[in-house]
Symmetry: C2
Subunit: 130 residues, 2 copies
């Protein structure tokens, strides 16, 4: 990863945020300082920075949204290699909501817990993906 002014700007601009902005927000803000930066560059650099572990992309799985018929509260395991999603039939940790409520000034209605890792099918034959 060579140096680039634009990449530095993207990283710096994201650093100003505590509110988890989208690529488009970063782009609009940067346009004011650097009127020639392009949206593609912002996307490219956010992706690159996330792949290098410098920033974090928040998403459930990449690509299309997934659906499930089971509406009972339960947890999930996502394979970071193939993207498969598995149910985790462990008992819900009821105490988590209460523990979190001390840090949140709002009403908590529940939580989602998603484990990440590499599934058996993918084994070790898998580089780290976004």
């Amino acid at each position: 990863m060579n140096y680039s002014r634009q990449r530095e700007e993207v990283q710096e601009q994201l650093g100003f945020h505590h509110d988890h902005p989208s690529a488009d927000v970063i782009y609009s803000e940067l346009r004011e300082k650097d009127p020639t930066i392009s949206l593609a560059t912002v996307y490219r650099n956010l992706k690159l920075l996330a792949q290098n572990g410098v920033i974090r992309r928040l998403t459930f799985v990449s690509g299309a949204d997934r659906f499930e018929p089971n509406i009972n509260p339960h947890y999930h395991f996502v394979c970071d290699c193939c993207g498969k999603v598995f149910d985790v039939p462990m008992q819900a940790a009821e105490t988590l909501d209460e523990a979190a409520s001390k840090y949140i000034s709002g009403k908590i209605t529940g939580h989602d817990l998603v484990f990440h890792g590499i599934c058996d099918g993918c084994n070790d034959s898998c580089e780290y993906s976004a």
Copy 2:
């Protein structure tokens, strides 16, 4: 919500799955049984069923992916009304990965924990959204 054959088909088809399919997968499968069903109908019904709590849509927040500069493991609170994302500075529950490993035949590298609810800004003035 009136009855519709297509909606019933969508719900039934999703019910066959244990693997959290995307809208497009459901559509392709249904096309074989019902060659005239449209993708828009599948999307409309998945959305409607999820809004009515009959099925579940798995997503972090709807719309564009979000990014954050803080790569230290930490949890999040998502307001289901306005979509805002807040950091939750509570201590990570290390024991969760171990507890989950009993149910997963794969390698767990970590987890994401996302609390849902209504933030102070939105208060109660907010209907349930997708």
